[in-house]
């Protein structure tokens, strides 16, 4: 068990399984999260991300396997774990008919933040979340980005070493999302371990490591760069040409081509890692009536990697 050897490990998940009747929502998942690390859960809706997070918070009981959070076995002692975690659920879940300050005081009280510190902590959370001047606004009147930062504020008021964020940025504008991620990085710099689920590929790039989850399984685990390299055993070429629809068919049957996918007005073509592929594709298209194609190698995106890894997983299943 790596979790017992390294004191640094804040979350340790070992062969975790969750069944709902005959349905296997989480299928034998194992991973660790270190102190101060930002771990991203990337996967489609219904992949099992929320179920894993809820088990780690003690909201659901694992069918089998073990989960340790902040050194405590969640299944054995869920109450002790709860003092060490902050949780932000998918759905905004603060009291809309209370003000910003009232919500913070409420959660501060429930978490038993010492009376003499509460005012100061609320102040710092309000400042961090950019909510200064809005302390007395009813939460229901706040815009999405503010609500979300307040929810984060309520989750960290008791200074937990571990933070679970379940799709925290869904339905929030891009500027607020960017700002939210800056906050998460600040927390991580302070040593907080963050487990955050998302289905935004660009967000996953902000994470230290990514766990790709599909159909309840951990498909891949690694840094964004590692995943991109591992997922694409070849070279990714960007093809710009006329008659995109026709070109997809042509390239699909071209020698040395593994996969073709359309991205807007361009094509991403995965080819074997061999010299001269670029020229060969241009020639192949020209020979079949599409002249003047431009082809250049590109850096694969996380989305390319995700599609490859998930497809591979589903074919294997």
């Amino acid at each position: 068990m790596p979790g017992e050897r390294q004191p640094d490990i804040q979350i340790s998940v070992d062969h975790l399984i969750k069944r709902f009747g005959a349905f296997i929502a989480v299928n034998d998942v194992t991973f660790d999260v270190r102190r101060g690390e930002i771990m991203g859960f990337l996967g489609p809706n219904g992949a099992g991300k929320s179920t894993i997070i809820r088990m780690l918070c003690g909201l659901l009981r694992p069918t089998s396997g073990r989960a340790m959070v902040a050194g405590v076995d969640v299944a054995l002692n869920p109450e002790r774990v709860r003092q060490s975690i902050g949780y932000m659920s998918q759905k905004f879940s603060l009291y809309g008919d209370l003000t910003v300050a009232e919500n913070l005081r409420f959660f501060g009280g429930i978490y038993r933040v010492p009376q003499k510190e509460i005012a100061e902590r609320i102040l710092s959370v309000v400042e961090m979340a950019g909510l200064a001047g809005r302390e007395d606004s009813l939460v229901s009147t706040l815009a999405g980005g503010w609500k979300q930062r307040l929810a984060l504020g309520c989750a960290i008021l008791h200074r937990p070493p571990v933070l679970f964020l379940d799709e925290p940025t869904s339905g929030v504008d891009p500027i607020s999302r960017r700002r939210f991620w800056e906050l998460i990085h600040e927390l991580s710099d302070d040593g907080v371990s963050v487990l955050v689920s998302t289905h935004y590929m660009d967000e996953a790039e902000y994470c230290n490591r990514i766990a790709m989850i599909d159909q309840g399984k951990l498909v891949a685990l690694g840094t964004p760069a590692e995943l991109k390299n591992r997922a694409l055993p070849g070279t990714l070429l960007l093809v710009e040409c006329d008659e995109i629809g026709h070109a997809i068919e042509l390239l699909g049957s071209a020698p040395g081509v593994r996969d073709v996918a359309a991205f807007g007005n361009t094509l991403h073509v995965l080819v074997d890692r061999e010299a001269g592929q670029t020229d060969r594709l241009i020639a192949w298209l020209a020979a079949h009536g599409i002249a003047g194609a431009r082809v250049r190698p590109i850096e694969p995106s996380l989305e390319d990697a995700f599609v490859q890894l998930v497809t591979g997983n589903r074919e294997a299943a």
Binding site: C57, L59, R61, R82, S93, Y95, F106, G109, R112, L138
Partner: protein
């Protein structure tokens, strides 16, 4: 422990304070229901629409019909000229009762024989029909007694025989005029509190579940009993407020006598409130959405009313249903509240009902607290 509970109280109070509609929802329906029950709910029958047909045309027959005309219980709507006409009045709904005096009525009376009076009632409303029949019996009995006395005084035969009269001297204790309102208004307190508290409790928790705030609470280190106490005590106070509101209105507006001890009444009310809270809590642990809670409340509250003695006498129910009433908290509370309002009895008489309520509250609260896990499963 107390610090967290107080936090929840503060939160509940703030939410209640911000929800400006809530204070009206607590006061107006309570008063409205009290007024409706106070005025409309009665078993007494007045102004029974009645058709009369006199085929005898004698002084005796007219005297008998005049007794009906002059009685507030009956209202003569049709004076029929023939049997079919009288029957038609019932059939088309103009009259609920028809009185037919056949020819020869007075003759039979004079001979000292039984003279028939035909009474037809519309049995579709069996309760009204039954009550009306009772009144008919009373009026006819008075008439015949009067007639016998007159006859005895007027005839030689009568002078030689002794008229024996049995009069029933009725004393209705605690409610001398058998006023239905006195019976109903205290009962309304029980019904209203049950409805308000079960609904408030069930909805308040299910709403938190639906909105997602319950999940946020569950990941905190709060203990289930802290949450439950925090969540239910405000409703307990609201319930107590409603009991007092309805009781005071009943006494001041409807002049229902309150002869017992307010302390005994409030003690019984508190035990009853605890049972109601527990029912609401239990429903909330079984429901995921407010819609489900609404359906469940309806399903639970209706039998509780029917099997409580609020309107239908428990002694008239089939034995199996009578057993069921023993686990119904409203049954005991009605005994307590009617006992304190009208009879003025104290704990020496009411303790078995108090004990039963306490036991029900304890069992229900234990079950619902155990069922209230801090997990989503």
């Amino acid at each position: 422990m107390l610090d967290r509970i107080v936090r929840i109280w503060v939160k509940e109070f703030l939410e209640f304070y911000r929800d400006t509609g809530a204070r009206y929802r607590l006061v107006i329906p309570a008063i409205l229901q009290l007024l409706i029950f106070g005025y409309a709910a009665t078993f007494e029958v007045f102004n029974v629409p009645t058709a009369v047909l006199d085929l005898d045309h004698t002084q005796e027959s007219r005297t008998l019909l005049a007794d009906f005309t002059n009685n507030a219980r009956f209202k003569i709507v049709t004076v029929a000229q023939s049997q079919p006409q009288a029957e038609a009045a019932i059939e088309n709904g103009d009259a609920v009762a028809a009185l037919v005096i056949h020819a020869g009525f007075a003759n039979l009376l004079l001979k000292g024989q039984t003279a028939p009076l035909q009474v037809i009632v519309d049995g579709t409303n069996s309760n009204e029909a039954l009550v009306a029949l009772g009144y008919v019996g009373t009026i006819v009995e008075t008439f015949s007694q009067q007639y016998m006395v007159d006859l005895a005084g007027r005839t030689a035969a009568g002078r030689s025989m002794r008229v024996v009269q049995i009069s029933v001297d009725q004393r209705d204790w605690y409610n001398p005029n058998l006023n239905s309102r006195w019976f109903f208004v205290p009962g309304v307190i029980g019904m209203l509190t049950l409805m308000t508290i079960v609904n408030l409790t069930a909805f308040a928790i299910v709403r938190e579940r639906e909105v997602g705030t319950l999940e946020q609470i569950m990941v905190t280190p709060i203990r289930p009993y802290e949450f439950i106490i925090g969540k239910t005590v405000p409703f307990f106070l609201i319930g107590l407020f409603q009991v007092i509101l309805v009781a005071v209105t009943g006494v001041l507006w409807f002049h229902i006598p309150f002869v017992g001890s307010p302390f005994v009444m409030l003690l019984g009310s508190s035990l009853f409130l605890l049972s109601s809270l527990a029912i609401g809590l239990l429903i909330s642990t079984l429901c995921k959405t407010q819609q489900q809670a609404f359906a469940s409340n309806f399903f639970v509250l209706n039998p509780v009313f029917t099997l409580s003695g609020f309107a239908y006498p428990i002694a008239s129910m089939p034995v199996v249903l009578q057993w069921l009433t023993y686990i119904n908290p409203l049954r005991y509370y009605l005994v307590i509240i009617r006992g304190t309002f009208l009879k003025g009895v104290g704990l020496d008489i009411l303790w078995p009902d108090m004990a039963a309520l306490a036991a029900i509250a304890a069992v229900l609260l234990t079950i619902s607290t155990l069922r209230f896990h801090k997990s989503l499963e």
